[in-house]
């Protein structure tokens, strides 16, 4: 054909994997296509059919099925199918059906093979576009992780042991001994009367007592054994539903520092789970570490926990926890170190002269910490702060905490973003001015220096000030296209590597290297780009996965891109985490430098997919926020 097929060419130019082809090749491809129309619900290809080309969805939508009849994938405009068959024996393995009225462009088999042989980017793209593969890789990890998928009810060993609220502590103790349990539920029947009938079905949960309550609240103060049990029980209980996840129970226990959790079904207690139950799932888990942190009485003691933190991390990796869980467990541990150090600092230095809020920034604030991490922190001071009178106290406090963190394995921030830096130890008003300046008059440099502050969390003291700042940022950023454009520009500074070939990384400009910095080239640009969209939609979520959920809900991403990004982030984060766990296994200092040689074929392939998704997402980011264009 002499003239380019204008519409087809335009379409291919806009869609991966064709978008990477040279213009002449693209014109040749466009002029070779066959076009076919399928009414909704009609079969496009059937199992075992001879495949004649790569089917690209031009409009409408298509469902691809496994042979079993299970849905394998759903494709919309720009999606394609048939590549499996083309790359194998030419017979359709995954039948396809039009879900809506659908127009497809069919790239003839010989053209497809020619492109696949001669254009590496196209070949990569064809495989990347099989996004379900990545999804399955991620899903498998989730399945393998019992903590993430097990329901709490599976931990419930027996009916809860309970006593009515009219009993004395003596009776309660006798009951506990007889049943050999360390906790006892206190029940009241629904009429509000104490219940002689302790069958659970008609009773309300009033409270709980544990061995520890008897020690601390009865024996130590020297109360009579006939004290009513209601006087020493804990009330206002934190409970879980039987169908919640074990993981959620674990987080609840961490957050509230609990050792026993009543499990409810239809508001009735059906059991109690204790820390020991969860420990069966995770012997050296983060709960242990956290409770050890709070038991330490000095910095040396805290520093001595470093190996425990590391083995906790390794354990979680080995037990196939996902990045979300590891990231938040590590952040909880990091936060606990900070909180304990602050308690110790206040013990040593005395009560603070004015109220303050100690901030966590970056990965800790996002609940995405790994084992290799800088400390990024800062302090918000009360507006009544007077440097001459008060600063010496906070200087010493900051020094104590930052030195302590360094001893615990959180290295000093090379960029000087620490509470020890006077610039980042300022009254609330100054912080508000900082943020206003960053948002209203952004320069690429100021944002490069300050973007870490846009992930911020109060961990100690007046944490509501941190929330105020977060609120201000969320409200202001979305209305400032210039700010978003500058953030977007920064988010594009770091690009994912092109791909892997044998034992080295190929860069877009043809250079090769023997390793990649998986944080700098993977997780960081991903987190950066998610942050820009987050600010643009006014979300206040801090965790990247939660942010993604808000972004997807806001509907600003092209169809399907949100879940792809989520899977890509999960995969890249897990490669980083596993790489670090491997370093620890081998007795090496963990870092972010991943050597392709050490990756399995599976990881290499999926990582390539994930980087391609990240790269596409960056293209979209550039398109959406370029040159200060508004939403």
């Amino acid at each position: 054909m002499e003239t380019e097929q204008l519409e087809i060419l335009d379409f291919l130019r806009r869609h991966a994997p064709f978008s990477d082809l040279p213009e002449e090749t693209l014109a040749w491809v466009a002029s070779s296509v066959d076009v076919a129309y399928y009414k909704a619900d009609t079969q496009i290809t059937a199992f075992g059919d001879e495949i004649d080309g790569l089917y690209v969805v031009r409009s409408g939508s298509v469902e691809v099925f496994r042979r079993s009849g299970d849905l394998y994938n759903r494709l919309s405009e720009g999606g394609f199918f048939g590549e499996f068959a083309l790359l194998r024996n030419g017979k359709v393995r995954f039948p396809a059906k039009a879900l809506e009225d659908t127009l497809v462009y069919i790239i003839p088999a010989e053209v497809f093979h020619e492109l696949f042989e001669n254009h590496e980017l196209f070949a990569d793209g064809v495989e990347v576009e099989d996004k379900t593969r990545l999804r399955q890789a991620v899903a498998r990890r989730e399945d393998a992780n019992e903590l993430m998928t097990s329901k709490i009810k599976t931990l419930v060993q027996r009916e809860p042991v309970a006593i009515d609220s009219g009993a004395t502590v003596r009776e309660a103790c006798q009951r506990m001994s007889a049943e050999s349990v360390s906790s006892l539920l206190i029940l009241r029947d629904e009429s509000g009367q104490s219940s002689k009938d302790t069958s659970l079905s008609h009773s309300m949960l009033d409270g709980i007592i544990t061995d520890r309550d008897i020690r601390n609240r009865l024996v130590t103060p020297g109360l009579d054994y006939d004290t009513p049990v209601t006087e020493i029980m804990s009330t206002g209980l934190v409970t879980v539903e039987h169908n919640q996840l074990v993981f959620e129970a674990m987080l609840l226990m961490l957050r509230h520092n609990l050792h026993h959790l009543p499990v409810l079904k239809d508001s009735k207690p059906i059991g109690v789970i204790a820390i020991s139950d969860i420990i069966r799932y995770e012997s050296q888990n983060s709960l242990f570490v956290v409770s050890s942190i709070f038991r330490q009485t000095d910095r040396e003691g805290l520093a001595a926990l470093k190996p425990e933190v590391r083995s906790c991390f390794q354990r979680m990796v080995n037990e196939d926890a996902n990045s979300r869980m590891i990231g938040s467990a590590m952040a909880v541990i990091g936060r606990s170190f900070k909180q304990r150090l602050l308690e110790l600092a206040e013990d040593k230095l005395g009560k603070p002269p004015v109220p303050y809020c100690f901030l966590a920034l970056g990965s800790m604030a996002r609940d995405e910490q790994s084992i290799v991490t800088d400390q990024d922190n800062a302090i918000i001071l009360d507006n009544s702060f007077d440097p001459d009178q008060h600063d010496e106290y906070f200087r010493q406090l900051a020094e104590f905490v930052c030195d302590g963190l360094s001893e615990c394995g959180y290295s000093y921030c090379t960029g000087g973003i620490m509470a020890t830096n006077p610039k980042w130890r300022q009254p609330l008003q100054v912080w508000q001015d900082y943020f206003a300046q960053w948002i209203d008059k952004p320069t690429p440099q100021s944002l490069l220096d300050s973007s870490i502050f846009f992930d911020l969390e109060g961990v100690w003291g007046k944490t509501q000030w941190a929330e105020q700042l977060n609120q201000m940022v969320a409200a202001r950023a979305r209305r400032s296209p210039r700010f978003l454009a500058s953030m977007a520009r920064n988010a594009l500074n770091r690009t994912p590597p092109l791909g892997f070939f044998k034992d080295f990384v190929m860069e877009a400009d043809g250079r090769q290297s023997n390793s990649i910095n998986i944080k700098r080239r993977g997780t960081a640009p991903m987190v950066d780009l998610i942050r820009v969209h987050t600010l643009a939609v006014g979300s206040r979520a801090r965790n990247s996965f939660e942010r993604l959920r808000d972004i997807i809900d806001a509907g600003i991403l092209p169809k399907g891109r949100g879940p792809d990004l989520r899977d890509a982030l999960e995969f890249i984060a897990m490669v980083r985490i596993r790489h670090q766990a491997l370093d620890l296994d081998e007795g090496q200092e963990p870092d972010n430098s991943v050597v392709p040689e050490n990756l399995s074929d599976f990881e290499r392939k999926n990582l390539k997919d994930a980087f391609q998704i990240l790269s596409n997402a960056q293209k979209f980011l550039r398109f959406r926020y370029q040159s200060g264009r508004s939403i």
Binding site: M1, E2, T3, Q5, L6, E7, I8, A30, S31, S32, V33, D34, V35, A36, Y37, Y38, K39, T42, R58, S59, G60, E100, D101, T102, L103, I106, P108
Partner: protein, 242 residues
């Protein structure tokens, strides 16, 4: 009615296959003779066995007696597939002046046509493409009438051929009855049967109009959609063509 269109030179409304035999005998221009000699499928041939050719012209205006052809787009197809690889597109020099309004529509300029061949230079190839195929157009009066006039001017002989008109297929559905009082009260307007509007009804994507090749492709896709929704591949071609 199928195959019954009255055309000069044919006394009785013969079926198209027989008419082609007769026209082949009458034709003097060897190219046109060859076209008719290639024959035409029988009226009862099922749609799925008929070779088709989507065709679109851009012209300098709507009146075939006053205006000329400036470009031709051809896209061979079957009821299942449209083959872009064999598609053709020509810009040709009309024998009448280009007027400004039509330049605005199809974007083919004076300098484009100045360099273009005369239609007579592409007749051979055009007729070879058309031979043995049923032509598919949107709004038949344009292509059939313009080609008839253009060939008369160059060979002294006109041309006849059956067409499937996607616009007429839409009209059968949407213009089958005169609008009644209820429609008037409800302010119902008859559905547009223009190419872009018709395509939209079948959820076909938007294509920029007024490029002969794109319009031919757009017409080809529309026919596939119409067949998928309203006809069966086993239906006789006589039910679609005119």
């Amino acid at each position: 009615m199928p195959g019954s269109e009255k055309t000069a030179g044919v006394k009785a409304p013969l079926p198209w296959s027989q008419r082609f035999v007769q026209l082949a005998e009458e034709a003097r221009d060897p190219r046109i003779k060859a076209f008719y000699c290639a024959g035409m499928v029988d009226e009862s041939t099922p749609l799925e066995e008929v070779p088709l050719l989507a065709m679109d012209f851009e012209t300098t205006g709507f009146d075939s007696s006053k205006h000329g052809i400036v470009s031709i787009g051809l896209v061979p197809m079957s009821h299942r597939r449209i083959h872009c690889r064999e598609a053709r597109h020509w810009v040709v020099k009309p024998r009448v002046a280009l007027d400004e309004t039509s330049v605005v529509i199809h974007g083919i300029t004076h300098s484009d046509v100045a360099a273009a061949p005369d239609l007579s230079d592409v007749i051979d190839e055009l007729l070879e493409y058309m031979a043995g195929r049923v032509i598919v157009v949107h709004h038949r009066s344009i292509e059939r009438a313009f080609l008839d006039v253009a060939l008369k001017a160059r060979t002294g002989e006109g041309i006849q051929f059956p067409v499937i008109d996607t616009m007429e297929l839409e009209a059968r559905l949407h213009r089958s009855k005169a609008p009644g009082i209820i429609d008037w009260l409800l302010r119902r307007r008859p559905a547009s049967i223009r190419l872009a509007d018709s395509r939209e009804r079948y959820h076909l994507p938007y294509y920029r109009p007024h490029h002969a090749l794109t319009d031919a492709l757009a017409t080809a896709e529309l026919l596939q959609a119409q067949i998928a929704h309203r006809f069966s591949p086993q239906q006789a071609i006589s039910e679609l063509w005119q």
